[in-house]
């Protein structure tokens, strides 16, 4: 058994909106094993980013963490005081945001943002901080000298993304959360950035949590994978296990729906229906309207997470009955 860096238990995050309440994260329990790359996939709005922000206890208003706990190094983050929380953020968990392009202060030079962040946590002479930052920038193959003196807008998207990656390592965190770090970039850059990330992961043994809607990307990077649907974690397991032996029709659907350069084209099958409306979730298993195997029970009872193999959990009533891989 691996050691878990983060243990999330029964976490729920709610957004109280005028038109109703959204449960963006619904009773999710997830372990993030130390030293591994865990990935969360799911379509847009499935709650990935919200879950990640909960790990930093930074759910944006009007969201509230309505239930659950997040333990890291044995401490419940959700109980932390403001001060401790500020210390915890970035030095324990750092994050590369979905729109990393915009996560730098546009009117402050990169250099100063590095310094500022460092000083918010530890005391050190400026020189030392810059030396460390320069080292990290070189790591992501950027010229420190030029980058330091730049304002964010003076860098290209790929460069900014790399700056953010370097930034996320500034305080040697235990966990780096990568929220769709390559969405806005083209394939070559994307590939390149993942190479860098993998290198960092390997050389520094940093635990990573990767959020993505692109299962192909995940396939390359992750060791473990969790699948989210409508705020719920519906399946989690080892990457190879999931790809070869997924027990949830949604996961299976996602894998099959991903067009590939290799697969036989006949194997690629779209998922029918349309994404769920979080304000108006279907009863029972939220996926049932789109699921070709749905039974009556799926419409009535929300399936619980169950062990279906080593380190492999699934929330589907039918996992024993159906062998997803063989269905065409």
């Amino acid at each position: 058994m691996e050691e878990n860096l983060v243990e999330i238990r029964n976490l729920s995050v709610e957004f109280k909106l005028k038109r109703g309440t959204i449960r963006a994260v619904d009773n999710v329990s997830l372990d993030i094993p130390k030293g591994k790359v865990t990935a969360l996939v799911g379509e847009s709005g499935s709650g990935k980013s919200t879950l990640a922000s909960a790990i930093l206890k930074m759910v944006s208003s009007p969201g509230v963490i309505s239930n659950g706990s997040i333990n890291m190094n044995g401490e419940n983050i959700l109980k932390m005081k403001q001060r401790a929380l500020q210390q915890y953020r970035w030095s324990n968990v750092s994050m590369v945001f979905q729109a990393a392009q915009n996560s730098l202060n546009p009117v402050v030079k990169i250099k100063e943002q590095f310094i500022e962040t460092y000083l918010a946590h530890k005391k050190a002479p400026e020189k030392e901080i810059l030396a460390k930052a320069a080292q990290l920038l070189e790591y992501v193959r950027l010229e420190p000298k030029r980058v330091f003196e730049s304002y964010p807008h003076e860098l290209s998207g790929g460069m900014k993304q790399r700056v953010m990656i370097a930034f996320s390592l500034l305080l040697d965190p235990d966990l780096v959360i990568l929220d769709e770090p390559t969405t806005a970039l083209d394939v070559i850059t994307q590939d390149y950035i993942f190479d860098i990330l993998l290198k960092i992961h390997e050389e520094l043994a940093i635990t990573m949590l990767l959020l993505s809607h692109d299962i192909s990307v995940v396939a390359k990077v992750a060791d473990r994978i969790g699948v989210m649907y409508a705020g719920k974690l519906v399946e989690v397991g080892d990457i190879f296990e999931i790809f070869t032996n997924s027990k949830h029709p949604y996961t299976a659907g996602l894998i099959k729906a991903a067009p590939s350069l290799l697969e036989d084209l006949e194997h690629t099958v779209p998922i029918g229906g349309s994404p769920p409306d979080l304000l108006n979730l279907p009863s029972g298993c939220a996926f049932h309207p789109r699921c070709q195997f749905a039974k009556d029970i799926c419409k009535q009872v929300t399936p619980p997470m169950e062990d279906v193999g080593e380190n492999h959990l699934t929330a589907c009533h039918l996992h024993h009955a159906v062998e997803m891989g063989s269905v065409n």
Binding site: V217, I239, S260, P270, P275
Partner: protein
């Protein structure tokens, strides 16, 4: 016989300004390309390489700076009114951002009925209603009545993209230029939209130009069609999808294919090096001399710096590379170790 649509040495050069300094942006350079009825052509390339511009030229939104566009053998930009009108309705466009492509202040019915009424496809509101319903059914938005009175923001991205499709086919076009029609659609829905396009192609005989930067989807939709690869305003490789993907010649395409993620951890996790010298994409406004790819190309030599390669046949396909013959074969399957 003449092609349905043909680009003849077309260049588009924009005037741009950065920091107040004027310079030119050659968004398309000497492109020769033709499209026939009923075929699907996928056009791929990185962001900013001029794909959208090409689409605009095809749809008559952008007058070429140089070269001609022929529709059924007639030069579009010297057509008379009637001919131009025919061309206009025959070549349609589906845009990337389905939200921006629909007037937010108008209902779906209003958006769909206006073109058919104005182009006299139907007469009267009643007939328009019928027709719009039919269109919606064609793009699998059922029951159509449910959508007529909705505003764009009340639909999901996938639904909106289908509405765009419906609008594009409403004028009974011969060809539709689909500019990244699924890049903003949710992963789980992309495939169904692509299937819809395939269906329209098959059942209505509409030719498609599918513009994308995603090679995997390009392969998916244009499995029996052709593939054109663009780099910095130029076509660098052109041929049937099967051939081109099976044996890509141009080093740029090879790099691109290498970078495409594969939804299979066994394959994906295999170590691959990008066959590239440099990652930085040169600026389009100041393209490198000779072969535009030369600063990044691992095979580049002096010729590449000095001479612009021509698009030439190598086997059944066209490639623009001085060393097309010399470059090592690259096979998709080599990925799977």
């Amino acid at each position: 016989m003449s092609h349905l649509l043909q680009l003849n040495d077309v260049s588009v050069i924009f005037e741009g300004k950065t920091d107040g300094v004027k310079h030119t942006i050659p968004a398309m350079v000497d492109v020769n390309l033709s499209f026939d009825s009923g075929e699907i052509v996928a056009l791929v390339g990185e962001s900013g390489c001029g794909k959208t511009t090409l689409g605009k030229v095809l749809t008559g939104l952008q007058k070429p700076t140089k070269g001609e566009l022929f529709y059924k053998g007639k030069n579009v930009w010297s057509m008379n009114k009637a001919e131009f009108a025919e061309y206009r309705s025959s070549v349609q466009l589906v845009q990337q951002d389905s939200y921006a492509a629909l007037n937010p202040a108008k209902t779906i019915f209003q958006s769909l009925s206006a073109p058919i009424l104005q182009n006299k496809i139907v007469k009267g509101k009643k007939a328009a209603h019928e027709k719009v319903c039919e269109l919606l059914r064609t793009v699998e938005l059922t029951p159509p009545e449910q959508f007529l009175e909705k505003y764009p923001h009340q639909l999901s991205g996938g639904q909106r993209q289908r509405v765009l499709m419906a609008r594009a086919i409403s004028l009974n076009p011969k060809l539709i230029v689909a500019d990244e029609p699924v890049s903003m659609v949710d992963v789980s829905l992309r495939l169904s939209i692509l299937n819809l396009m395939a269906k329209l192609n098959k059942e209505m005989g509409i030719a498609f130009v599918y513009i994308t930067h995603d090679l995997a989807t390009a392969r998916y939709i244009a499995k029996n069609g052709r593939l054109a690869v663009m780099y910095l305003g130029k076509i660098v490789e052109l041929g049937s999808v099967r051939n081109v993907l099976a044996a890509p010649r141009h080093p740029y395409l090879q790099a691109l294919l290498t970078a495409v993620p594969v939804p299979d951890p066994k394959v994906a996790k295999g170590k691959r090096e990008l066959p590239l010298k440099s990652l930085e994409m040169p600026s389009i406004s100041n393209p490198p001399s000779g072969c535009a790819f030369n600063p990044r190309c691992p095979y580049a030599d002096e010729t590449c710096v000095l001479v612009q390669p021509k698009l030439d046949f190598h086997g059944d396909d066209l490639v623009a590379c001085h060393h097309a013959e010399r470059i090592p074969e690259w096979k998709l399957v080599t990925l799977a170790k």
